[in-house]
Symmetry: C2
Subunit: 517 residues, 2 copies
């Protein structure tokens, strides 16, 4: 009892309050709001990409958790002094890397409410509002995207909020897998084949791997510049035919609208037609570009979605809803539920047994789930459809503006056509600018071209690292068709025209330096 | 362009601000803090379990998202009027259902900072502080739990924050599966066997199912009152032996410390010894009870953990860290990484290639990941080890107090021994109170006993529904060994002695009514 008693004394003297005391919550909550408001106000003063070295933080923090409590004021000072230097500022207006993680006031407030209520919404019963708001909001969003009725609850489909696309794909792969194996026998798991293009996000390969698909049966079908790195339906079909001839069973296709490397778009309609012939489950991964499809002028990119089995996009990428929030719709929820449901006695309840409710735990991997629809609902209501379209259009317009600036500087080239709000460009090696290759296939020319390409790649690698190390802006790269290119992704919420103009000036300045070296 | 132009006009007139404008963020943020502080202050006035009927919300909300923005004031009114009635108040001091989802000011603030920075911490590079703080905090917590060094980074193991136990188990099952299949060939996936007790959380069965383990090869080994519903090492061994004789391959055991139904504890030490003989990966699921093991007097429940392969507990259950936050430690991170890593070109970076950093995307299912360590760090620092122990002890003390109250009322019985802060009890049918069964196995007595048991179960079902429908307190049930019991789980942060006393009074009042009916 000695040490227990000591604990109690320390508790009473140093921290007598209940850890959820409403008035202390109010005091500290206001403090953090001001901290974050100041952070957004001052965000441009930080280098966008963190400049720390591996292991920086272990040197600065103690080896063990404190025995006694520390005041919030001290902790916030440490956030400022120790944590912020190690943060890459995804909310900075000068952030153009990867894809955006576009925060918003409404998304933030929604997350606060969700965290404040802190309900564990595994089934309807555990907090009816969490389930019901989710199904309503997913129908709202589905209508905004003009998804066919078969994906909405009113059409016997339905939507669910997952954490990430990885989870959404794993769930659909598992559902597709079990739908087939329950028919043909589980011993055939080693014969199932999953299809994608070589531009498809690595989430698919990982999901297939977790779901026990044989790694040899994962097909990353080659794409090329000729199809703007979209998956060719002919290549898809010939791959399937070869697999069937080899005794394998085609299972699943993940088609992408807006690939990570270059925002390429797979032709959904024709791919679905091929898939249909072979009974293949088609998932459309529109993680990044799905948002844009709420604008009529972009909707055509998902034409054909009516023939897919499932569709997902990340509201946490380019839809002002903070991480994490992946929107998944399926036509046949029962296939998800069959693959993922559990009904232990301790969760039994009348509502579930009445079959009048959705228990979302059976639509996802985890049992516990946060009240994610709260933030999506706040975003939709706070901004409205008109503004949301407008925000996205503003980003696309800024990307166009950047594209125009690149096009005017003959030292650079745009590598692939811009579809949304990302520009893929590269600096040309000085000698190459005017170089015209003789047509022909001679080994000499081939080697020469390969060497030129590597030279160009190295130049752009150097350029990008030089820009990012300076900290003024942050961009990342991709390689498509062997070509290293710099990706300029507009979408950080705070970005305005002036930031895009500044970014281009930074690129030009670093190019000047590198070309003169 | 017509409609586009209209959108722009509406935007400018109705919502001219950037959606992340710092001063508007400040204004709306303060508003929400006050909303939530008031919610906590007034939380006792709401029925704990939501009283709405299925479909209540669809009747109250519009069919589509609004075209034009709505002010935050209107939205908050709707949260109060439409959402709160559909919420089951997990933060209420009168909440004793399932397991707690214990919020705290520090956990909330940590979530706010994480959401405010909104970084996507898939690898070190994408925000070094997110990765580094996580590995530091996991070492801190590991030390608090007195995990062996082999689970800490300093001992070549390491910890990672997952969303939920379901994800943690799926990752470890997948790692264990691939470790074996890479050795013996993937065609053997259908021969792998996963072990648990019949008290193990359904997350395991789901994880095994997702990972492609044949459903026939999932063993839920029977437990009984004789071992307090813990898994018997002898039963475990005999099940393994039978499987091996049948040509199957033992793969994975999930042992539980604090089962969901009754907080039973599997004997980790002896189970690990058996597992070791057969090369079985042992995961310890201490989702609920792991927290308590930071107190020296509870640490013995995880004795033997040094022989397990992985260990997890949920900081979002009973550790003041809001949902979701599951702490997972593994001895051999490379087995996780081998099963779950991907390295697409667009994520290549110098830090990863230097091999000096952790890329947590390879330790989990998803690529994107939130900055969850922020909230755990805030909780550890704001309260300190001493207070955290003290909070948990206070909950255990309150459970003891409730146990004492039950024991004094001869109409009730405690069904299983209390290990932590949950009491499992039931109301005895009136005639049964004094009934002594003759020893013996005659069919007559057996049938008689079964009928009595069903009568008792029905009585308790009625009692619980009557209590929960009244809304004053909320508890849930479980069935162990065929016996329906009511679970009284203390752990909501705001709960004090008086709430426990009130809860017992509510139980007694409803029992009076039901017994008199």
């Amino acid at each position: 009892m000695g040490s227990l008693h000591a604990d109690v004394l320390e508790n009473n003297s140093a921290f007598g309050l209940n850890p959820l005391d409403p008035e202390e919550f109010r005091r500290q909550g206001h403090m953090i709001i001001d901290f974050l408001a100041d952070y957004y106000r001052d965000i441009e003063k930080y280098p966008v990409r963190s400049q720390v070295e591996p292991g920086y933080l272990r040197k600065r923090l103690p080896e063990s958790a404190p025995y006694n409590p520390e005041p919030i004021e001290t902790i916030l000072q440490d956030v400022q002094k120790e944590i912020i230097p190690g943060i890459t500022h995804w909310q900075s207006p000068n952030y153009f890397a990867y894809f955006p993680s576009s925060g918003s006031i409404a998304g933030f407030l929604g997350e606060m409410l969700s965290t404040g209520f802190n309900v564990v919404g595994f089934n309807w019963m555990s907090s009816p509002a969490a389930t019901e708001l989710e199904s309503i909001v997913m129908d709202w969003l589905g209508k905004m995207l003009k998804l066919p009725k078969s994906f909405l609850f009113s059409g016997n489909g339905g939507g669910v909020l997952q954490g990430t696309t990885c989870e959404a794909i794993l769930c659909t792969v598992t559902a597709a897998r079990d739908r087939v194996l329950n028919r043909i026998g589980r011993e055939n798991i080693g014969r199932l084949v999953v299809y994608a293009s070589d531009q498809t996000h690595c989430a698919l390969q990982k999901a297939a791997q977790i779901a026990g698909i044989h790694p040899k049966n994962f097909r990353a079908i080659a794409t090329s510049k000729a199809t703007a790195f979209g998956l060719s339906p002919d290549s898809f079909r010939s791959t399937i035919v070869a697999d069937i001839e080899a005794g394998l069973i085609p299972l699943f296709l993940c088609a992408t609208v807006g690939t990570t490397s270059s925002t390429a778009v797979d032709p959904i309609g024709p791919l679905c037609e091929v898939a249909k012939e072979y009974g293949i489950w088609v998932h459309i991964d529109a993680a990044y570009a799905g948002s844009a499809c709420i604008c009529p002028e972009f909707r055509h990119f998902i034409d054909g979605v009516e023939n897919a089995d499932s569709f997902s996009f990340n509201a946490h990428k380019w839809f002002f809803t903070t991480l994490d929030c992946c929107c998944l719709w399926v036509k046949d929820p029962s296939s998800l539920v069959k693959a993922l449901s559990t009904s232990p006695e301790y969760l039994r309840n009348k509502a579930t047994e009445s079959r009048q409710v959705i228990d979302y735990k059976d639509w996802q991997i985890a049992l516990s789930r946060r009240f994610r629809s709260m933030k999506l609902w706040m975003v939709l209501r706070s901004y409205g459809v008109a503004n949301l379209r407008n925000f996205l259009r503003t980003h696309v317009k800024m990307a166009k503006q950047f594209e125009g600036l690149v096009a005017m500087d003959k030292r650079f080239e745009i590598v692939v056509p811009r579809n949304f709000a990302m520009v893929c460009f590269r600096l040309l090696p000085p000698a190459e600018e005017q170089k015209v290759y003789a047509n022909g296939n001679s080994a000499y020319h081939h080697d020469h071209k390969a060497a030129d390409l590597e030279r160009a790649n190295e130049l752009n690698r150097k350029l990008l690292e030089s820009i990012n190390a300076a900290g003024r802006i942050y961009m990342t790269h991709a390689v498509v068709g062997g070509m290293y290119m710099i990706r300029f992704a507009v979408g950080a919420t705070l970005t305005e025209d002036r930031h895009v103009n500044l970014a281009w000036k930074v690129v030009q300045d670093h190019a000047d330096t590198i070309l003169q070296a």
